[in-house]
């Protein structure tokens, strides 16, 4: 999406025509754009603007409201649960980002190798991605809570005898495992697209020059597919911040709300506890964090792409 910023900047730079729109042009606008533009505005733009405004009021979800300045933000930052959620989310974003991309890149290398079974492997790796986070989360809840526990008791595996989901630290790793299992197939496709876009001549040339496979990977393939990394890292970053389904279905935030990621925390704050003001302020904080981190990541990755 943002990778086409060239397209946007060129359209903005080219001079628009300043003539008054003709009747025909207006009619065309109405016929082709009015409905989608109106729905987009109603569903996205207005609630977004409204959401910003509401954080400065004492709105409780129903009644009319008056302006209260920054008190919702102050209250959000005074909430110790919010801080622990932020820490937990930051850790989750970083670890899942690294784990998903390392695994996905490995899978991509595997299924673009000369292996005869590569097509069936690709199907296997991709399937978890088809299924929604809730169903995946529930499947793994069964695995961690029941299957592994009863296997562990049978074969005396001490580390699995108590469910991983009942321990904050292990539940974190359970979340990571399920996230990797879910998203690595998708990112694998992104990396495959990058790998196959490298021209064969270049690879043959490096082979003739006597480069080892590892050398070829590090000096030829990685730099030439930098764009795939930009995209995959952006998508995993965004996915990490927005993760909700797996969180709800796997740990439900437990034990004792210690594994709540930011999305679930906002949901609980607003819809379970009725704190609409702080809930929405936290949502705005989340939006700003995602936007800033994503912008920084994309501009840094873009610079690395240019230096090939």
């Amino acid at each position: 999406m943002i990778f086409l910023d060239k397209r946007i900047s060129t359209t903005l730079r080219s001079k628009g025509d300043f003539r008054m729109p003709s009747a025909r042009a207006t009619k065309k606008f109405l016929k082709f754009s009015l409905v989608p533009l109106a729905i987009f505005t109603a569903v996205l733009v207005i609630p977004f603007a409204n959401g910003f405004y509401l954080t400065f009021t004492d709105w409780d979800g129903f009644e009319s409201h008056k302006l209260v300045g920054f008190s919702n933000y102050v209250a959000s930052f005074k909430d110790p649960m919010f801080w622990s959620t932020l820490r937990f989310t930051a850790l989750f974003v970083v670890v899942s980002l690294v784990a998903v991309n390392v695994v996905a890149f490995g899978l991509a290398l595997l299924v673009t190798s000369k292996l005869r079974s590569r097509n069936i492997l690709r199907t296997f790796f991709f399937i978890p991605n088809l299924i929604g986070g809730v169903v995946l989360g529930v499947i793994w809840q069964f695995i961690f809570n029941s299957a592994l526990v009863s296997i562990a008791k049978k074969y005396n595996w001490a580390s699995f005898e108590q469910s991983w989901l009942q321990d904050t630290h292990k539940a974190f790793w359970a979340l990571i495992i399920v996230t990797v299992w879910q998203s690595s197939g998708y990112m694998m496709i992104v990396y495959i697209t990058g790998l196959v876009s490298i021209e064969n001549d270049v690879l043959e040339a490096s082979q003739i020059d006597g480069a080892s496979p590892l050398r070829t990977l590090l000096s030829i393939k990685l730099p030439l597919m930098a764009q795939a990394f930009t995209i995959a890292i952006f998508l995993t970053l965004r996915g990490g911040f927005m993760a909700y389904d797996v969180n709800v279905a796997l740990t439900g935030g437990g034990p004792y709300r210690t594994t709540e990621l930011i999305s679930l925390h906002i949901f609980q704050d607003a819809f379970a506890n009725g704190h609409f003001g702080t809930g929405q302020s936290k949502a705005v904080i989340m939006f700003l964090t995602v936007a800033i981190v994503a912008l920084v990541q994309v501009s840094v990755s873009k610079k690395m792409e240019v230096q090939r």
């Binding site: 990778f3 729905i39 492997l121 029941s146 389904d245 939006f287």
Partner: protein, 274 residues
């Protein structure tokens, strides 16, 4: 082949097999245990059933109202995706072909909006739309999906249309075709590859979506992920039934994928890389 290369191939093969095994094991566990009775599962979840029972499936089908949720999922996904295709392709056509300031700013707004997480909207969103939701929650949900899907779909179409020469439109206009006829009869059929991408990306998202349906739908209109989640919450100790329910929940999408595998992979790679 040198000995070293052969060893390398063996290692890749072994790694591939182990990983493939790891990726499918969870599904295998769901499958074998859906055929077992509870004591059998508790004794050892890894083994094949000592006695195959189909009762779990019967129970799950009725208890999670499987066919009702499946129908709801199909209706909501099909209608949302079709309407998204109609609206966003027309929208993109207008934005790509009109060189005005307005269309540039609209396009920029669409692209920027893609970074906004749903969580940043959901609270004011639910307050604002409560009345539409209580009037007809399925229609409301489809309306919301069109709103949320417009930016990405329009963006994908926009990129594709920009590569179709506008001489084609001009030729159609000279032949006397109206804007609409030119678009639907000539341009739209040329966009089949990107339409496939848009359809697959949106269908996967809407089919699996959980948070928005959870906020909007009632028990009568719930979709498959929602009824699976609720069913599992209620019957998680009835392991066999829970597993049968999970298997029923994943079968439609996996079947769909296996039928359209090529389109899925090319759709997802072109959608992600754009």
């Amino acid at each position: 082949m040198s000995a070293r290369a052969r060893l390398g191939r063996r290692i890749t093969f072994a790694a591939g097999s182990i990983l493939a095994f790891a990726y499918v094991t969870p599904f295998f566990l769901v499958f074998v245990n859906s055929l077992k009775l509870k004591p059998d599962i508790l004794a050892n979840p890894l083994t094949l059933p000592s006695h195959v029972t189909w009762d779990n499936f019967q129970q799950a089908l009725t208890k999670m109202n499987y066919f009702r949720s499946l129908t709801n999922s199909i209706i909501i996904t099909t209608l949302s995706v079709s309407l998204l295709i109609v609206f966003s392709s027309m929208f993109a056509y207008y934005l790509a072909r009109t060189k005005s300031k307005l269309s540039k700013w609209i396009f920029l707004g669409l692209v920027t909006s893609m970074i906004v997480p749903f969580q940043a909207l959901m609270i004011p969103f639910m307050a604002r739309f409560a009345s539409i939701v209580s009037w007809n929650n399925r229609a409301a949900l489809i309306f919301f999906y069109i709103g949320f899907g417009t930016a990405m779909s329009t963006f994908l179409y926009h990129g594709f249309i920009s590569n179709i020469p506008s001489e084609i439109d001009e030729a159609a206009a000279i032949d006397g075709a109206s804007d609409m006829t030119a678009f639907w009869k000539i341009i739209f059929p040329m966009m089949r590859p990107i339409t496939a991408t848009v359809a697959i990306i949106n269908a996967l998202w809407i089919w699996n979506d959980f948070l928005l349906p959870r906020l909007v739908l009632t028990p009568e209109t719930q979709t498959l992920p929602l009824s699976t989640y609720l069913f599992y919450g209620q019957y998680s100790t009835e392991y066999g039934q829970a597993m049968a329910g999970l298997l029923l929940a994943v079968i439609p999408i996996i079947a769909f994928y296996l039928i359209l595998q090529k389109q899925f992979i090319s759709g997802i790679s072109s959608g992600a890389v754009k």
